[in-house]
């Protein structure tokens, strides 16, 4: 079938790639690159498979891989899949990660996965492992290169086997290892290949996306591996430090496809000096796809204007780990749809009533049309199915939906409803395209990273001066940054403590950064009984949000 993937599993696809075709170019800096052909990559993966086997990792065992972004990490992942084990990438600790947060995340994941091995590199910082007891069944391995002691005999891989696990970020998210079968991943890649009209003879993917994230793992590792397309990648940290390097790489390597979250469309232009903006030739790009945060038209226009790319090159997609990756994709060669709607109708009636653009109108940018075999329902709070132009929760059913969260039937049951996945995202359909407007679940997305407000609330509530359970953490969109910022409201135990708020705020700030690695923009300490409670007596996030903006208009979205 033209356009689809002619292989039954991911490893079969890797084995079929032409040996001498370039697969990965890892751009380290201007003078340093590491490359691997498909043949070379296969050899390195087999060596890793043999090493894992020697360490007792067998078919079905989980293997956690914590290595810096690069070919070794990818080969270890592919090697684990070759022997039928189930690999999962976890974020490598970098200068931005706090040791305490890191250790607790690692402990949670390895306990939940009952992993047979945790593979780290030679330079892995010792302090990140201090006090981490992995349990007697989990072996800590240092990755090594070079030929293994013995040959590796590949077992048969079945389409229904779990190929790997994907995690979403945050300590709560780490409990959710999304289990994906070879069949589901192959089907998703087939849809992407067709929608993006991928041609291995002319396409080349650029990526700075972390491999533990679905955009990095699926779009920028599995897709090129299975469709035999070269990929040029750099580490997320290099990109954050020098976002301009992205333009340099796309230009030098004539890359045709790339993905990034919404904030990147503002971050790159703002961090590129004015006199160098037109220096780069980005005309090789067919599609730069805005994905994994709600798509904002203004961010896309900023990128378009700064670098003179054609509007139709900037595309959009709605994707999530639970569906392997994409649910929708905008149509190539056309800019994603836009709609300007009456603000009042949108906020109060959750309804899209088109109006000309004005200060009181709200505008939305589409995430494209549904890929084949993807079905969605838009559902109201009361459970009614809604028609076009009404905003509700997005439910998904598809041929590439996940098998459940690994060893968490409780979380799986919460997320699934009669074969439909409840995304927790809010959106609407308009003229055949899907628009995603925000989240029903209270997840915050800070610079593309998922942060669960419950995690922050727990940290803040742990402070002796804060009333137990009377904390609300909110995400407030900052248009200047193109992403959300954290605002925390916490009730103090007593009015008297208000005189000490400066010191308390400082301690709370410290705890949030230490545990989450992000700083709160505002911490508002209030007298008791300030937070609005629901009828069930629990703090209500939405009502507290309204009260906060009413009493502190300076904290509104800006």
């Amino acid at each position: 079938m033209a356009g689809l993937i002619p292989y039954e599993n991911l490893i079969e696809a890797l084995e079929a790639a032409p040996a001498d075709r370039l697969f990965v170019t890892h751009w380290i800096d201007e003078d340093e690159h590491e490359t691997a052909t498909f043949g070379g990559f296969r050899d390195r993966s087999r060596a890793q498979a043999a090493r894992l086997t020697e360490s007792g990792v067998a078919r079905g065992d989980r293997a956690i891989i914590i290595m810096p972004q690069g070919i070794s990490a990818m080969a270890t992942f592919a090697g684990a899949m070759m022997l039928g084990a189930v690999p999962a990438f976890l974020a490598y600790p970098n200068f931005k990660v706090e040791a305490e947060k890191y250790r607790s995340g690692l402990l949670g994941v390895s306990a939940n996965l009952k992993a047979k091995a945790v593979v780290i590199d030679q330079e892995f910082p010792e302090e990140m492992l201090r006090c981490v007891s992995l349990g007697e069944h989990t072996k800590l391995m240092r990755a090594e290169e070079g030929a293994p002691a013995r040959q590796f005999a590949p077992p048969a891989i079945h389409t229904a086997d779990v190929a790997f696990l994907q995690h979403s970020a945050g300590t709560t998210g780490l409990q959710k290892g999304v289990a994906l079968t070879h069949a589901a991943v192959v089907r998703q890649l087939g849809h992407l290949k067709k929608a993006l009209r991928i041609d291995p003879s002319s396409d080349r993917i650029y990526s700075w996306l972390p491999l533990y994230h679905d955009m990095g793992l699926i779009a920028c590792f599995m897709l090129p591996m299975v469709t035999h397309v070269p990929i040029v990648m750099q580490s997320p940290l290099e990109w954050v430090m020098r976002p301009e390097s992205m333009l340099q790489i796309i230009d030098e390597h004539q890359c045709t496809l790339a993905w990034m979250p919404n904030f990147g469309f503002q971050f790159v232009p703002r961090r590129t000096p004015e006199d160098r903006k037109k220096k780069y030739d980005l005309s090789s790009l067919r599609a730069l796809i805005n994905c994994s945060e709600p798509v904002r038209g203004a961010s896309m226009r900023e990128f378009e204007t700064a670098f003179g790319v054609k509007g139709e090159v900037l595309q959009s997609s709605y994707a999530m780990a639970e569906n392997v990756f994409a649910v929708s994709q905008s149509e190539l060669g056309k800019p994603p749809g836009q709609v300007s709607a009456d603000g009042q109708q949108f906020r109060s009636a959750h309804r899209i009533v088109p109006v000309p653009e004005s200060a009181s109108a709200v505008s939305f940018t589409s995430s494209g049309r549904l890929l084949p075999e993807q079905k969605i329902r838009i559902r109201s709070d009361s459970g009614d199915e809604l028609g076009e132009g009404f905003v509700g929760e997005i439910l998904i059913q598809s041929d590439c939906l996940f098998d459940g969260y690994f060893s968490r039937p409780d979380l799986t049951a919460q997320a699934m409803e009669e074969g439909w996945y409840r995304s927790g995202d809010l959106g609407f359909m308009w003229q055949g395209e899907l628009y995603v407007v925000g989240r029903k679940k209270d997840l915050l997305i800070i610079g593309g990273e998922n942060i669960y407000p419950q995690d922050i609330e727990e940290i803040v509530a742990g402070h002796r001066a804060v009333h137990e359970g009377r904390v609300i953490a909110l995400g407030v969109y900052n248009a200047e940054l193109g992403t959300e910022e954290i605002v925390v409201v916490a009730e103090l135990q007593s009015e008297a403590l208000l005189s000490e708020s400066a010191g308390i705020e400082q301690e709370i700030r410290q705890r949030i950064v230490a545990a989450m690695g992000v700083a709160a923009r505002t911490i508002l300490l209030t007298p008791p009984k300030w937070i609005v409670k629901s009828t069930a007596g629990k703090p209500s996030r939405s009502a507290t949000r309204e009260k906060l903006f009413r009493e502190h208009p300076e904290l509104r979205e800006r």
């Binding site: 380290i28 800096d29 201007e30 810096p68 600790p93 970098n94 200068f95 931005k96 990660v97 706090e98 040791a99 910082p125 302090e127 580490s235 940290l237 290099e238 954050v240 430090m241 610079g447 400082q506 700030r509 410290q510 705890r511 949030i512 950064v513 230490a514 690695g517 992000v518 700083a519």
Partner: protein, 83 residues
Amino acid sequence: MTAEAQQMIDHIMHLIRKPGVTLDENTPLVSSGLIDSMALVDLLQKLEDLTHMRIPVGKVQPKDLDSVAKMFATAQRVGKPRK
């Protein structure tokens, strides 16, 4: 203290805009919650400018940037001359 270290302190003061906070070369920055990860990126860029070095970010850990003194020591240890 070197002129570069003083410039870094001034830069951090400007960045955090907190009245009443004083900084010296050894004040903890990250572990005290004064600055977060996005600010570290900015500080690393400032450090590159002040030292005329290119700092390979993969070789830097949070503890290496926790004070102004540590930042300059890190630049000396891992920095490459800038082209």
